[in-house]
């Protein structure tokens, strides 16, 4: 476990590590171009096809209730593609170089209650800069789960497996509320010295605007447009959102909370070098293997290590890079954490269970 960290590379080795990974990034960046544009264009097309057929299909449910099942699955697939492979990656700015008028990190808005700008502030900045640093990366356990001995045990941790399942079910609301929770917008005492670029008022406004639109879309406008079958359509939309929530939370938990994913202390990371940052990204993340369709459904977060090393590289390129990254990690004696999806997820559950107890 993280107590037995392997020998940390010295400053010189870290410098060489940074140089090698930078070199890898530069070579890959030089090949960016038409292939990425085509990939994104096709992806968005198929995502829209899923959404459209799913929503139109729901209309036909009067014909047989069994119709609901494939249509809900299609709609869930559309939402998963929109959130993971398109939204997450576009909002990271991976495709900004294409200069697409809407598919860019500043304009894109996704099919989830979390406001894109708010997510960028907590995820792109906090999580990607301070990955797995205790007390600085609020994505580590989301302030609800205890996943390391560095956090004090409290009574509520003993039922944290149930908390996890609940968080998973309402995952989109968890993400939407994440920044507001950090700023103690509704509850709790303001933390002294916590800096925010946006006021509480702006946070609240963005939260309620996005939540209102999402709720209106799935539970009011679309059901009303399908009036005679409004209730099944509403339920279908609810089911699609639920499936998406479960899937995204499962994938994301496999990224940083597997048994082997290491944590860091703030003092280890003060004024850290680029090499140490890379080193921390590799140790704090974990991959899982699978066929191409699985990678796409996870938004290539199955290549979490590559994603954390090169967050602004188009994600569909990660699987091809992973062998080289693994080689480099091995050369510097840094553990490269990967395994099958099932095995990695099992270790996540084990970890949540293990730290439920003091």
């Amino acid at each position: 476990m993280e107590k037995h960290q392997s020998q940390q590379p010295d400053a010189l080795q870290l410098h060489a590590l940074a140089a090698e990974l930078d070199q890898l990034l530069q070579t890959e960046k030089a090949t960016l171009g038409a292939a990425d544009a085509l990939y994104l264009q096709r992806l968005v097309f198929w995502q829209r096809c899923c959404a459209l057929t799913g929503r139109l299909g729901l209309l036909l449910c009067w014909f047989s209730w069994w119709w609901l099942l494939p249509c809900v699955l299609l709609l869930a697939l559309a939402k998963i593609l929109d959130n993971m492979e398109i939204g997450h990656n576009v909002l990271h700015g991976q495709y900004d170089f294409l200069r697409h008028p809407t598919l860019n990190s500043q304009r894109f808005e996704w099919d989830i209650v979390c406001d894109a700008k708010s997510w960028q502030r907590t995820h792109n900045f906090e999580h990607h800069t301070y990955t797995n640093i205790i007390g600085e990366d609020r994505d580590f356990g989301y302030g609800l789960l205890r996943l390391s001995d560095d956090l004090r045990w409290r009574l509520q941790n003993s039922w944290q497996l149930a908390t996890y399942l609940l968080l998973s079910t309402f995952f989109q609301w968890g993400i939407a509320y994440h920044e507001l929770a950090a700023q103690r917008v509704f509850f709790g005492k303001k933390k002294p010295g916590r800096f925010s670029q946006v006021s509480d008022l702006q946070l609240k406004k963005a939260f309620f605007t996005k939540a209102r639109r999402q709720l209106a879309k799935d539970y009011l406008v679309y059901p009303l447009l399908c009036w005679p079958v409004a209730v099944p359509v509403l339920l279908g939309n609810f089911a699609a959102n639920l499936l998406r929530n479960w899937w995204t939370s499962t994938v994301i938990f496999c990224g940083h909370f597997t048994e082997q994913a290491q944590v860091f202390q703030p003092e280890q990371c003060q004024n850290e070098s680029r090499g140490h940052w890379y080193y921390r990204q590799i140790l704090g993340s974990s991959n899982f293997s699978g066929p191409r369709w699985l990678h796409i459904l996870t938004g290539h977060l199955s290549c979490q290590i590559e994603h954390h090393l090169f967050p602004d590289l188009p994600a569909w390129r990660y699987p091809a890079l992973s062998a080289k990254v693994q080689q480099i990690a091995q050369k510097y004696g840094i553990a490269y954490n990967t395994g099958s999806f099932f095995r990695q997820y099992l270790t996540v559950l084990k970890r949540i269970w293990r730290y439920s107890w003091p």
Binding site: Q41, R121, F125
Partner: protein, 361 residues
Amino acid sequence: MPAIFQTIYQELCQTLFRQSGFIAAAEPFLRKLIPAHRAGLYRARILSITPQAGCLRLRLKVSRLFPAFVAGQHLQLFVELNGRLLERTFSICSDVQGLSEQHELELAVQIQPKGRFTGALPGTLRPGMYVHLSRPVGDFCFMSQQPACLIGAGSGVTPLFSMLSSISRLTQPLTFIYSFRGKERLLFAAEWAALQAKSPLLQLVLWDSARQGRLTPERLLGELKPDLQAHFYLCGPRQFTADFSRALLNTGVAEAAIRSESFGVVAPSAGETQPVSLQLGQHSYQLGGHGSLLQRAEQTGVTVPYGCRRGVCMQCLCEKTSGVVRNLLTGELSDAGSGRIQLCISEAVSPVKVQSVEISA
């Protein structure tokens, strides 16, 4: 009332599609049917490409929906180069009748062989291909009621040529002075004689500076003696228009009677601190200090959004409208036109203009 419908429509599109409009939402499907479709832009088919005087003259067929323009206006030309949609600003050089009657436009694109955009055009563009255009904009427009004097240098002649050829019948005397360097740099070489023959009131001066020497304000006033009561239209490199407007003002020409438009790339100069202007919403700031653009903004006391400060999180992404910046991570120089840059890893190497791209929900 229409404003209310507009608001409802926009809110509905935001709610259902998270897009500004239905067309933008349907774009992935439209692009399957019409591959050249781009939401928010006008597509134009290339009819012919003629290299002339270091420029590419692009004759374009646009759709009926393309808005009318006033001679002298410019637009943005968008070309997809290796997947990237890049754009630059060019003046329309054809007449307004060509658009209204045949739905045709012409642009004269000056080729900079090392330019990232124009340098790639000769190898990319083919007749029959589609490019994209913004709507025409600009207030460098011709008023035909007064006697006028049009002075253009180099490719600055393009909007003036559009003005001249758009005049159906000249009722006031008009002086047209075009300075170019050498016969091989003469734009519209085949058209000048016909234009002169059409209007006896036109005094056309084709000034070959390779043969006659540089056209300076002194030589203009001394040798060409333009009517100082006329309205002046100047177009050329920044230095050219600045020199001429100063000289004209000094001879007593009213400020309102001088209109000018200039262009030009400022050569990157290393070492000294370059002026940077930053536009955030309504406010505009001149940045002092030194270091990255983000550091300079902060040293000036301007609050800009930022995150990681190491080029990862895209929080400080801004739209650069002009100027050259160096990427502090890679040492790479940007091109001089517009583009997105991250303030935290960009350093100005020429005068730079940036603006925020944050859009309120």
